[in-house]
């Protein structure tokens, strides 16, 4: 009987992904970079629980020959996994890890990482190192069309996973550190034609261009190199923007430097900005605000609110009203924070004088690598806690005068080194979503920087990983480690979960592999 049931599941048809499947994904699938439009990275699957997670064992490993440090998030649709490496897409049988097809872009500009694909209809979409948006046939990997997003020769590239909304593909751009101005684009999902572009740096005559001294707006930065979130009811896209350039030398770009280091809300149909909130005005520490914004509907101070929460690279946890952009709360989620003494009632940081890069070097906490970074956070609607990967550590930040040179040269105005006084240390932390109060923390001993992102499941688990290669399952309520597996290579990607053939899997990229786990039978 069991075999027959499996056979039925096994013979599952590859269905087209309709907009409804993107709006309300089936729990067995993982159709967005962050799981769903609200980016909570919480799965309804509950086969794997706190009581049986000890039985989690690897089911298959897929090795990507050309990969070194994968940061891609797999997409899973009805038993097919789509997985990327720069210039490459792999379609795998999600139960067995066997390859169905692969796409390799030629000629291929080498630049990494790639963070993943998006799916819609019978198509798979990716961004490329030469700043193109590429559409493939999801069934055999045939190239359907490609659209140039920006000039690769200027230094632009497209590492972010696209997001599909209705018939549009939303696509960000990198980098900020080369003095290239960022934007967010929407493309026709059928033809690849560009429908709108929102410019992250206002041009002369546009509001807030005066937040840039002189002509500094021309090389302002503000990349959009991670994937944002979407509220279908409000029809608003929420995206974080990157740092201003040159990163560490703020003297040449006095002003708030809008809309760098912002969370922006854009009308999904037109790309028009509805509101923005700047986390770090006049940033001089390269604290991109691109971290995944999580959308949560929950009572806040007695009133039901549509919230947007973000753990920012600058060390603060922010709670905003996502209808209006109103700042509700901001509180540090790290202990080592020396650049601001707090936030004003409007959420603007109260700067500590002197904590800016200098010729000799200035101790700055958090470090430029950030209190957190591209590692995705998660939200569990059962605990109502926000889970974040946090780094405690400080840098010595220096500055010098840099010259903008077009063609993809870095325009940083110097950088940072690790402070010798405090060793860097990674944590997974649980915060109350409305107060930001620490509920528990899990210290990733001997892990110093970056890590895996987080996954929350209805089985009461938080999955995380570290740069030493361990994938770990924590109890979502206590933070106690219940299971751990040494995958053998550094983990820099985000875990996902899906179900195929009646079995729940947890999968993550580690180093040059992708590994899928399920309960031992």
């Amino acid at each position: 009987m069991r075999t027959i049931l499996f056979a039925l599941a096994g013979a599952s048809l590859f269905g087209q992904v309709q907009y409804g499947d993107l709006l309300r994904p089936k729990p067995e699938n993982w159709v967005h970079y962050s799981g769903q439009y609200h980016s909570q990275r919480h799965s309804g699957l509950r086969q794997i629980t706190a009581s049986n997670v000890k039985r989690l064992t690897p089911q298959w490993i897929y090795h990507v020959d050309s990969a070194r440090r994968l940061e891609s998030v797999p997409i899973v649709v009805d038993g097919v996994m789509y997985f990327t490496n720069p210039n490459e897409v792999y379609a795998l049988d999600a139960r067995t890890g066997r390859e169905i097809w692969r796409y390799e872009r030629q000629p291929a500009l080498q630049k990494g990482p790639n963070r993943g694909a998006a799916v819609y209809g019978n198509r798979v979409y990716i961004g490329t190192p030469d700043a193109h948006l590429v559409a493939l046939d999801a069934r055999n990997g045939s190239l359907l069309w490609e659209t140039k997003i920006a000039e690769a020769s200027e230094g632009y590239w497209s590492p972010a996973a696209p997001m599909v909304i209705k018939d549009k593909v939303i696509m960000g751009i990198a980098p900020s550190d080369h003095g290239l101005n960022g934007f967010l684009d929407a493309y026709d999902a059928n033809t690849g034609e560009r429908l709108w572009r929102w410019h992250a740096i206002p041009r002369p005559g546009e509001p807030h261009n005066d937040t840039w001294a002189g002509d500094s707006w021309k090389t302002g930065g503000g990349g959009t190199w991670l994937t944002g979130s979407y509220d279908p009811e409000l029809n608003l896209l929420y995206w974080g923007t990157g740092n201003p350039a040159p990163d560490f030398d703020g003297d040449v770009r006095k002003g708030d430097n809008l809309y760098t280091e912002c969370i922006v809300a854009l009308d999904a149909d037109t790309g028009k900005m509805k509101w923005f909130f700047q986390t770090t005005p006049w940033d001089v520490h390269d604290w991109d605000a691109v971290e995944i914004p999580i959308l949560v509907d929950t009572p806040y101070q007695g009133k039901m609110r549509k919230l947007l929460v973000q753990g920012n690279r600058n060390g603060f946890y922010y709670v905003l009203d996502r209808v209006t952009g109103e700042f509700l709360l901001g509180t540090p989620f790290i202990k080592e924070l020396n650049w601001a003494s707090g936030l004003t009632a409007k959420g603007r940081p109260i700067r500590v004088e002197g904590v800016i890069p200098s010729l000799k070097g200035t101790k700055t906490c958090p470090a430029t690598s950030g209190a957190t970074n591209w590692m995705s956070p998660a939200y569990n609607p059962d605990t109502k806690w926000f889970y974040i990967v946090a780094q405690e550590g400080c840098g010595i930040n220096t500055k010098s005068r840099d010259t903008f040179r077009p063609g993809g040269n870095s325009f940083m105005g110097t950088g940072y080194v690790e402070s010798p006084e405090e060793p860097w240390q990674m944590y997974i932390r649980a915060l109350d979503v409305t107060t930001g109060k620490l509920q528990w923390e899990y210290k990733q001993i001997n892990s110093r920087r970056y890590a895996a992102g987080l996954l929350s499941t209805a089985g009461g688990l938080i999955f995380g990983g570290d740069d030493q290669g361990f994938l770990t399952a924590l109890d979502a309520r206590t933070g106690k480690a219940l299971w751990s597996f040494n995958t053998g290579q550094q983990i820099s990607a985000q875990p996902i979960t899906y179900s195929a053939g009646g079995k729940q899997y947890v999968a993550i990229a580690n180093g040059s592999n992708i590994v899928a786990f399920a309960l031992f039978e």
Binding site: A11, L13, L143
Partner: protein, 270 residues
């Protein structure tokens, strides 16, 4: 242990051979990796000169002869560049039967060289005669090619995507694939019929397989992913779904138009 080592060595050579033949298929390149340019009109003249002058040893139209090798076979050439070929024809190849041709006119040597390049070139370089637009209409229409083959995002998905065919294959290889049946279906395109344990019948192409699982693209253009335990019965088709004798199902001019269209399929450079 020795057997394992032997197999590993053998496998290495197979991989190397595949890589080399793929490289030859992809583009005719000289030593420096640059694409070899030649004049198509000169190559046509060169063919006549070659057939007059070189077929004492080499075969007709560059095929293998009784005393000398084929010039257009898909292998790694010791002499690939124009300069190397000119030198071989003019001065011969020492230590072989290839004689010098001191009496041959410089212009004729150049034309023979162009002809040899054309044998080794991919189809897009050849300026194949015929009405490519009419060939495209045929491809998309009554010849039925587009039911299985995609070109620039249009067409079926069962057969290989042909968008870059002319830049990857020689004219001879394209002609062959239309006219001569392959001894076995290419990997990834073997027809298969499966009956599952649940009683479902699936007809399709085996994209990938192992003792433990099968990844099939159904003729209905859907993916079927099965583990071995879910399969009751499976039988493989011996011949590819690609029809052969295409030239017999249309007139000569139509076939030439189809070749003209297919040979021009090359993705525009980014």
């Amino acid at each position: 242990m020795a057997d394992v080592f032997y197999l590993a060595m053998r496998f290495q050579w197979i991989v190397l051979a595949c890589v080399l033949s793929l490289a030859c298929l992809a583009q005719q390149r000289g030593r420096g990796g640059r694409r070899v340019r030649f004049d198509a009109a000169e190559a046509r003249e060169g063919r006549d000169i070659y057939n007059r002058s070189c077929t004492m040893c080499h075969g007709l139209d560059g095929a293998a002869g009784d005393r000398a090798p084929a010039l257009g076979a898909q292998r790694r050439y010791l002499r690939a560049t124009t300069e190397e070929l000119l030198d071989a024809i003019k001065n011969g190849i020492k230590g072989t039967n290839m004689p010098a041709s001191p009496a041959m006119a410089e212009g004729d040597i150049r034309k023979v060289t162009a002809f040899i390049h054309s044998l080794r070139a991919t189809a897009v370089d050849l300026d194949v005669p015929g009405d490519a637009a009419a060939g495209q209409a045929l491809f998309q229409g009554k010849a039925g090619c587009a039911k299985c083959h995609m070109v620039n995002g249009q067409g079926g998905i069962l057969g290989p995507d042909l968008s870059n065919l002319g830049a990857e294959r020689s004219l001879a290889a394209i002609r062959e694939s239309l006219t001569i049946a392959k001894p076995t279906p290419p990997r990834g395109f073997q027809p298969v019929t499966v009956t599952t344990v649940a009683g479902k019948r699936i007809e399709g192409l085996m994209k990938n397989q192992h003792n433990t699982s099968f990844q099939i693209l159904g003729l209905d253009e859907k993916l079927y992913l099965l583990t071995a335990g879910e399969v009751r019965e499976m039988s493989y088709g011996k011949t590819s779904l690609m029809p052969t004798g295409v030239e017999k199902r249309m007139n000569e001019a139509e076939f030439q138009n189809l070749l003209a269209y297919l040979s021009r399929l090359a993705r525009s450079r980014r």
